[in-house]
């Protein structure tokens, strides 16, 4: 790997043969790896600004050499508030460095940085938190529930790839540069919606798979006690109770802005009550 590195320093062209300015393809790969730590020193005050700034310093120094003035300016504007989805942050770092390399006006770069992190957070969250996590978790859990270590192994393997995809996002952002920034905005809209559809479909599927709400078989009704309560719900629609519970909790969050802590406590208490009554 190291020797390969050296090699590239000599011929600073990208894999696709295009000249990359002062930064080599390796530099961008390194950025992607450093960006794994983009979120350290997170505080409510500036959120991801420290890591965002820090990750870009090696590449920045390569562009501006010893120019202390530029370094100070660069560090200062990047220390402004930053919060986006970490993989999208890497993409944004690529964009910023590409613009720095082309000596774009720093006010413009700052504008791009501050204007894009919000929409990118929306896209990244849809993809990484709301789609990849549920699917990966669901697949691993299906294997893990019976105790098979394939469950965690698949989970770890998937997230190794996901984690290292930052290298891809660094190159993607650097490649986009300041060229197609408007089209990023446009495509973000469509991709966010598509990811939302996929994510919601999967969440819908997770309800019958993983939420268990059922009355005890001993809870019957009718004069002769011939029908279980649960059988009536099943006859209306299987898994209707899990669906109802999810929507009830959703409504508590949405309408009453309930605190998740109380909801969990409530569920535990009601469950214990149900157990005490022998209803579940």
């Amino acid at each position: 790997m190291a020797s390969n590195d050296e090699n590239d320093e000599v011929t600073p062209t990208a894999a696709n043969g295009e000249k990359l300015g002062k930064l080599t393809s390796q530099d961008i790969t390194k950025l992607g790896l450093l960006s794994i730590f983009e979120q350290i020193a997170f505080s409510f005050e500036r959120m991801q600004a420290p890591g965002f700034t820090s990750n870009m310093l090696p590449a920045f120094k390569k562009i501006y050499g010893d120019s202390d003035e530029d370094l100070k300016e660069f560090m200062t504007y990047n220390m402004e508030f930053m919060n986006t989805e970490p993989h999208m942050a890497t993409l944004l770092q690529g964009v910023v460095l590409s613009m720095e390399e082309k000596h774009e006006d720093r006010e413009l770069i700052k504008g791009v940085r501050n204007g894009l992190f919000g929409p990118l957070a929306g896209l990244g969250d849809s993809i990484f938190w709301f789609t990849i996590l549920p699917i990966t978790a669901a697949i691993s859990c299906s294997l893990a529930q019976s105790g098979s270590i394939l469950g965690p192994i698949i989970f770890i393997a998937v997230y190794l790839v996901v984690g290292l995809s930052r290298i891809f996002f660094a190159h993607l952002g650097y490649g986009i540069g300041n060229k197609a920034l408007t089209s990023i905005g446009e495509n973000t809209k469509y991709l966010t919606k598509a990811a939302g559809i996929l994510g919601t479909t999967v969440i819908g599927a997770l309800i019958p798979s993983y939420v268990t709400v059922a009355f005890a078989d001993t809870l019957v009704f009718g004069v002769d006690g011939s029908s279980t309560v649960q059988s009536v719900f099943n006859q209306i629609m299987p898994n209707i109770l899990p669906l109802a519970v999810v929507f009830a909790i959703y409504a508590l969050f949405k309408k009453k802005h309930a605190n998740v802590m109380y909801i969990i406590l409530g569920i535990i208490l009601i469950s214990i009550l149900m157990s005490f009554l022998g209803w579940m």
């Binding site: 979120q39 350290i40 997170f42 409510f44 005050e45 959120m47 420290p50 700034t53 820090s54 310093l57 370094l71 100070k72 220390m79 957070a121 969250d125 938190w129 709301f130 996590l133 549920p134 978790a137 669901a138 691993s140 294997l143 893990a144 529930q145 105790g147 270590i149 469950g151 965690p152 989970f155 997230y159 919606k193 598509a194 939302g196 559809i197 996929l198 994510g199 919601t200 479909t201 969440i203 819908g204 309800i207 019958p208 993983y210 939420v211 709400v213 299987p238 999810v246 959703y250 969050f253 998740v260 802590m261 909801i263 969990i264 406590l265 569920i267 469950s271 009550l273 149900m274 157990s275």
Partner: protein, 274 residues
Amino acid sequence: MQITLVQGLLMLLVGFICSIDQQTEAFYWFRPMVASFFTGIVLGDVQLGVQCGAVAELAYLGMTNVGGTVPPDPLFAGIMTVVLAYTTGQTPEAALGLSYPFALLAQALGILFKTLYSFVPHKLDAYAAEGNVKSFNGLIVAVTVLQSLVFGVVIFLCVYALQAPIQAFVNAFPTWVTHGFEIAGGVLPAVGLAMLLLTTLKPETYPYLFIGFIVECVLANIVTSDGTAVFANVLPVAVLGTALAAINYAYEKKIDETAAKISSVSNGGDSDGI
């Protein structure tokens, strides 16, 4: 079962590593699926670890830090579910319910750090103004390591030091209480899913929730002659969801592009007319 001092110290290490991962969101080792697995390895009961990981992962699926928020802590939940199941002999479902106070404790700790650390960026601003890269990097690494060290130590305490009182406490439960925790274990994933819905559910995604629900209801009930499920997980629904998302993507784009084409043509026409 008892947890030995060595195991306790190993858990400190596991806690430290997973906490670094949690701060960086690097490889998702802070999720119960992984943390429980590691805990199972340390305690010498891998299968229990894996099973507890499945149960806890599902319940904490929606506990994300989206927007920089701090939810009840999935890392502590993952570790303590295994520990409680191991030391008290409860089922993973019941242990999950019992682990809840620890998840709240860690949540509080997380909020505390992210609030206290508000002093950090001010220091960093100063270093930035000086162009002092070394101090800049030094500080952010230091506070990160410090936070994870504290998490590791707290895990050690919960796992090792508290085991006797916890065991005594749990053993005093009548069976209807522990069965209640089991029921809660089955319901808790609903909380995570409802939280996910808070961000993904919009007028235009609503229909897909029901499509996913109905399709999975069908899939889950398709069994082979010996009663095992043919479709073991939601991957088929995810494939279907991808297809539906792609179809929607194509329509949305076609509509907007057709509109854009007309607009530009008709604008062109206007300027010709003037």
